[in-house]
């Protein structure tokens, strides 16, 4: 895909003029339809349908989770002790059988499976995966396993989109992109937050911004959210109390939350990184019991006084935001939720980690805020503010999606005055997490599953070679287009380079070799000017800031390509040749 405009790659208008005159546009009905249904436009329309279908699927998924919860755990907030222990245990046993025998792909992270579809399987995700995720995750979350509905929703969306793309026999490029488009739709509907979903998919799955992808992802996310809101209402996930930051000095308090959140993120991700392979390495027969035992232990935690750790736990995040718990209780809940989520996830129970991450972050945030209030009563932030910032902190530290983490908090709270505390705290958490746990959790899971998918974090931080890194100064004098060939020939000596650059009027560049000059003189063209003999031989030029990859497109066509200033195309900053580019790439690879 050509992502650079003509002006970016230095093609001058003369080039366009030299092209054959385009014929008049075809206004026939077929041409009109063809223009409407050009593949990229058709893909955009298709994105809307993907959003609608994903939204409908996620709505049904939400119904299924709630029905499972009501019928398995009961409709009240005070749960019966028998159900607390039995429901997650028995559900775990059933889920194990389903995952082992019927839906083996339902296990694992939906984000990574979508990435695998994009980078390995040409966009292919079996529809069976969606069905499996739907059933097993609804059963797991509804019965109280400490997991969330967002990751399965993301995968359901991706899987539906993939099935649709296969059915419509889209091109390979479109097929690769269709899974992330569906993923964005699924996540947006689950979170009721389209901006965060779009950002997450761009940040963590696709890893690059282009207008084509962004348009499709946005359309699918928005249409899925519209569908979801149609059926489930437009309320945000939490009732956010008013947020305020009265004094800039309070940012220190949020920085402390960032540090604590960063450490908690490391503990959480280290736990998964350490325990998951060990659980997977246990004999195969134990896999029938792992989700059941995890369910039993979670049930016992609930039975012993912390039922809040069960399920996604959004209602308890809401209560924490409204100051229901003491800071000590909040800290305990954050710790227990880490344990419960570790148990659920490493045992192979299908479900996502977004909701538990938000839960842990909210509890930890409110706990840190509460503790700080004990020592510094003048702080103006309410428990809700700290809980909200805490959610962003864990999102940044654990999921390593710094941009999404900020926008997620803004979108969920609908309050932009919280942006500064969120950015400050998230930065601390992200930096600490990166320092102590170099590999992001999604990359850890990918490696554990034996896949080699590109790390978005590494991609983001990859050094990009630019033209200025490979160019060299122009050593020889430039030729002027008005100079006569004879005159140039006389100036040539032993030291003159083989290729000479010619500056054309008013702008533009061309090149000529020594050999060509000699031949022109021999052919009796010595009296002609360079501009007349080089007519139609304009060459492209580059700018110093362009990626070095761009240079690869020209250096095989011309032995020497001028690198000119963006401010004045006649000012030569340097020159670049094939040898220069290859040398720079070789040095970079060795370095």
């Amino acid at each position: 895909m050509n992502i650079l405009s003509n002006s970016q790659i230095g093609i001058l208008p003369e080039d366009a003029q030299s092209e054959p005159t385009a014929s008049l546009p075809d206004r026939s009905p077929a041409a009109l339809l063809r223009s409407v249904f050009r593949e990229e436009r058709f893909f955009l329309i298709l994105s809307v349908f993907i959003g609608v279908f994903s939204g409908l699927a996620v709505v049904c998924f939400r119904f299924a989770i709630d029905w499972c919860r009501i019928y398995l755990l009961g409709s009240g907030s005070t749960l019966s002790p028998t159900r607390l222990v039995l429901a997650p245990t028995l559900a775990g046993l059933i889920i194990a059988v389903l995952v082992i025998h019927v839906f083996p792909m339902a296990r694992g992270s939906g984000v990574n499976q979508t990435k695998a579809a994009l980078y390995i399987y040409n966009g292919h995700i079996p529809i069976r995966t969606a069905v499996g995720k739907f059933i097993t995750a609804a059963l797991a979350i509804g019965s109280g396993h400490s997991l969330g509905p967002e990751d399965p929703s993301l995968q359901i969306g991706a899987s539906l989109a993939s099935a649709l793309g296969r059915r419509l026999r889209l091109s390979r490029d479109r097929m690769r992109l269709i899974a992330p488009v569906g993923a964005a739709a699924g996540l947006a509907a689950a979170f009721n937050a389209p901006i965060s979903a779009v950002l997450f998919v761009i940040e963590e799955v696709i890893g690059r911004w282009t207008a084509g992808i962004l348009g499709s992802v946005v359309l699918s996310a928005v249409s899925s959210v519209v569908v979801m809101r149609w059926f489930l209402g437009s309320e945000s996930l939490f009732r956010i109390p008013p947020v305020q930051l009265e004094r800039p000095s309070e940012l220190i308090a949020y920085s402390i939350l960032g540090v604590v959140g960063g450490l908690a993120s490391v503990a959480f991700s280290s736990g998964i990184a350490t325990l998951r392979p060990r659980f997977k390495a246990l004999p195969r027969w134990t896999q029938y019991f792992q989700p059941g035992i995890a369910g039993l232990l979670i049930g016992l935690i609930a039975f012993l006084g912390a039922p809040q750790v069960m399920g996604a736990g959004y209602e308890y995040i809401d209560e924490a935001m409204h100051g229901r718990f003491t800071w000590q209780m909040l800290a305990i809940l954050a710790g227990l939720k880490i344990v419960a989520t570790l148990l659920s996830f490493v045992s192979g129970t299908p479900g996502g980690m977004f909701a538990p991450t938000l839960f842990i972050g909210a509890m930890l945030g409110a706990a840190v805020g509460g503790a700080e209030h004990v020592f510094l009563p003048h702080l103006s932030g309410s428990p809700g503010t700290y809980a909200l910032v805490g959610m962003g902190v864990l999102f940044a530290g654990f999921l390593r999606a710094p941009m999404t983490s900020v926008f997620m908090v803004l979108e969920v709270s609908g309050n932009y005055s919280i942006i500064v505390p969120v950015i400050v705290a998230n930065t601390f958490a992200y930096v600490i997490s990166r320092r102590l746990q170099p590999m992001a959790i999604f990359d850890v899971l990918t490696r554990q599953d034996g896949l080699d998918l590109p790390s978005m974090e590494e991609q983001r931080e990859e050094d990009i070679l630019r033209v200025e890194d490979a160019m060299r100064p122009a050593t020889s004098a430039l030729l002027d287009a008005q100079e006569a060939v004879d005159h140039v020939f006389k100036r040539l000596d032993e030291k003159s380079p083989d290729v000479l650059l010619v500056r054309l009027n008013p702008t533009g560049w061309s090149s000529v070799t020594r050999k060509e000059i000699e031949n022109m003189v021999k052919e009796g063209k010595g009296g002609l000017t360079l501009s007349s003999v080089l007519a139609g031989r304009q060459i492209s030029f580059l700018h110093p800031d362009q990626p070095l990859d761009t240079a690869l497109r020209y250096i095989d066509r011309w032995p020497l390509v001028p690198v000119v200033s963006r401010a004045d195309y006649r000012t030569l900053e340097g020159v670049i040749s094939q040898l220069d580019v290859l040398k720079r790439y070789r040095d970079f690879g060795e370095g």
Partner: protein, 384 residues
Amino acid sequence: MIGEQKGRALQLYLTREPVILAMLSALAVVFFLAVTGLSHLYHAQQESLANRWFNRGATDLKERRFESAVSDFRTALLYSRDNYSYQLNLAEALIGLKRTNEAFSYLINLWEREPENGFVNLDLARIAAQKGETEQALRYYHNAIYAAWPDDQQVERRDARLELVDFLLSINARAQAQAELLALAANLPNDPFQQTRVGDLFLRAQDYENALAEYRLSLKADHHNSAAVTAAGIAAFQLGRYALAQRYLQSAVATNPSDAQSAARLKTTELVLQMDPFQRQLSVAQRNLVVIEAFAAGGQRLKSCFGTAGSAGATSSGASSSLAESWAKMKRQITEPGLRRDPDLIEAAMELVFDIEHQTNTACGNPSDADTALLLIAKMHEGN
């Protein structure tokens, strides 16, 4: 030939993309309808569960079982997350449990949604008042007074204002309380109970004139309102309208003989009426007699004070000896014939008596009934 090609191309497109889109649209409609059916089932169940738990909560709240009410309302909110009334009831149950911070965070959310809601403003005002945040409390009370109330708007607004006055009096903001009471009294219905209630608040705000006016209005409608009679007696007493006070207090004591406070106040009132020489209806002889008795009482008070309050006497020895001298000097003239001869002595004698009462009251305290009456008479005539 070209026309044939174009026709074929059109056919190709018509058999692909538009058909696909039409089929996808049809499929979307089918799924949409199916999910709508499921959604009806889902929402019906959610609504029924929400109602069930809310009704339980409402019963618990009514019976002041706040802990259960909180749990019930929380469960109801699980099924109807954004329900305004559920959140408001939850906040009220939390207030009942004295978990005001938690209640506040729910209420403030509700306030952001409906800043004109009377219940929310009143609850927020109560919480702010509890926390001692006067400015916030006043703001929310005023919001509540001018808020939209679902049922009897007048009554709710009046009650909110009464509560505000109560709060203002509790923080000793009497001027503000009086202003609110005047606004309240202007719109008060002809209800003896409410008039008495407002009268009481005027009394607490030390606005005796308006208090008496409210009690009189109340008594006009209900002559037998003993509380209003007693309070009217107090208001009249405080206003120095002792004849009126005597009437009310006599009636109060007759209705409730065990009311010791009213009886004591009545006694003082009667003494004031007996010992006040400036009453218009007195004959010269009676006035002279009253002055002689008052002068004697003043002398007695002077004597008893300096006889018993040694330290007090020491500190105010200069002033007291001057009073004693003046009293002794005047004593000979304060007789029936003396007063008859020189009526101006009445004024001078009573001035001295008032001075004696003031000085001894400061120095010795514990005035006798007669001394109290003389002090009240002094107060009554100070402005003249």
